[in-house]
């Protein structure tokens, strides 16, 4: 068979059209959503954190570790204690991620407070942008997740995360991070950290739910996200966040 370049491009174009038609069919017949009762399109998850309510007890850290089998020495969430002296770099400590709370601070003359940290569930997430294999992604309901079967463990995302929220799981050798307890929130439950926060300092919120208290919270309080200059579209909002917090 004698094919000209024009014929080859014509046949190639037709094959591509067929392939894309196949993809469209796949979209229609594709994977089921997390559960039949849960509609991803109805939610856009995030969290609000009231720093003035955090007592640094570490209940969130322990609950997260138990709920998600987080290996010892690694953290999906942790709590930092800031001790700020005027004109100096703040002192920051987080012994074992605050898994066992904090020892009493020796300095009582400093501005001190606790800051719970976790994945900020960025809408424009740097970790997603750098993943070379599509293993980390933002779900349709706004949660940044990792597909363990695709993750190569290259750790580009660990470097890209401006908040230090990712680690390489020592046994699985894939990247692990806070899933905002996706297995719980898709069942109508709150996250393990929010469930176990004794003072209500952390609250799971759904920005798409008009009845969610987050709307009133954002309207009535001065809130800030961590590192706003990174333009990551972070969805973890902190009330009364001090400028010393990094």
């Amino acid at each position: 068979m004698d094919l000209s370049r024009r014929d080859i491009f014509k046949i190639g174009g037709k094959l591509l059209l067929l392939a894309s038609a196949g993809a469209t069919l796949e979209e229609i017949l594709g994977a089921a959503p997390p559960s039949e009762a849960y509609r991803m399109a109805d939610h856009w998850w995030g969290m609000i954190i009231d720093i003035d309510k955090c007592i640094g007890c570490g209940s969130c850290v322990r609950a997260c570790a138990q709920e998600n089998q987080v290996p010892a020495g690694f953290f999906r969430t942790w709590v930092e204690r800031y001790q700020v002296e005027e004109g100096k770099q703040p002192l920051v400590d987080s012994p074992n991620g605050a898994m066992d709370g904090f020892p009493p601070s020796k300095r009582t003359d400093l501005k001190s407070f606790f800051v719970p940290k976790l994945c900020n569930q960025c809408a424009s997430s740097p970790c997603v942008q750098v993943c070379p294999v599509g293993a980390t992604f933002v779900s349709p309901d706004g949660v940044v997740l990792v597909d363990e079967t695709y993750c190569l463990g290259c750790r580009y995302c660990v470097q890209a995360c401006p908040y230090g929220c990712r680690y390489l799981h020592p046994q699985k050798r894939t990247v692990d991070k806070c899933t905002l307890c996706y297995h719980r929130i898709t069942k109508g439950l709150t996250t393990a950290c929010c469930e176990n926060c004794p003072t209500g300092a952390r609250q799971l919120v759904d920005f798409k739910n008009p009845e969610d208290p987050v709307h009133e919270f954002l309207r009535n309080n001065k809130v800030e996200v961590l590192k706003p200059y990174m333009a990551t579209g972070a969805k973890v909002y902190y009330k009364d966040l001090d400028g010393a917090v990094r």
Partner: protein, 136 residues
């Protein structure tokens, strides 16, 4: 040659790339199902109150009313699934109360906190305080 390469590419792609890849974005949507199918460890406060009426009554009227049962007693989803086979242990009171109530300048000023050693000289908190409804 080019046509052959294209056919081979499409054939390999059809085998290697999952059928539903790209449904919601550049990722495998089956991962959503896998992640959401994981089992829970914490059953939730409401589950405990369904059986433990007496504790619910005492706890609900006290200063710890907003503290979830599992915050102190640990994850109890297995217990709610099979209460007799998975009996929870009592909390480690010596450390449990201290984590929240040990005096620290970083804690909110209105939150109840004490220098535990000076306050109790090593006695366990529940020697005097009822943990489900502590009185100051």
């Amino acid at each position: 040659m080019l046509l052959g390469g294209l056919v081979v590419f499409l054939a390999i792609r059809a085998v290697v790339v999952p059928k539903d890849f790209g449904k919601f974005g550049h990722y495998r949507p089956g991962a959503l199902e896998t992640i959401s199918a994981r089992s829970i460890a914490y059953a939730g406060h409401e589950q405990c109150l369904q059986c433990h009426d007496q504790e619910a009554k005492v706890h609900g009227g006290g200063m710890h009313a907003k503290v979830s049962c599992e915050t102190c007693h640990g994850p109890l989803a297995k217990h709610t699934d099979d209460p007799t086979a998975n009996v929870p242990k009592l909390p480690d009171v010596a450390n449990l109360c201290r984590r929240c109530h040990e005096k620290d300048a970083a804690k909110p000023k209105g939150f109840h906190q004490v220098d535990t050693l000076a306050h109790s000289q090593g006695m366990l908190c529940n020697s005097c305080h009822q943990p489900h409804n502590p009185q100051l």
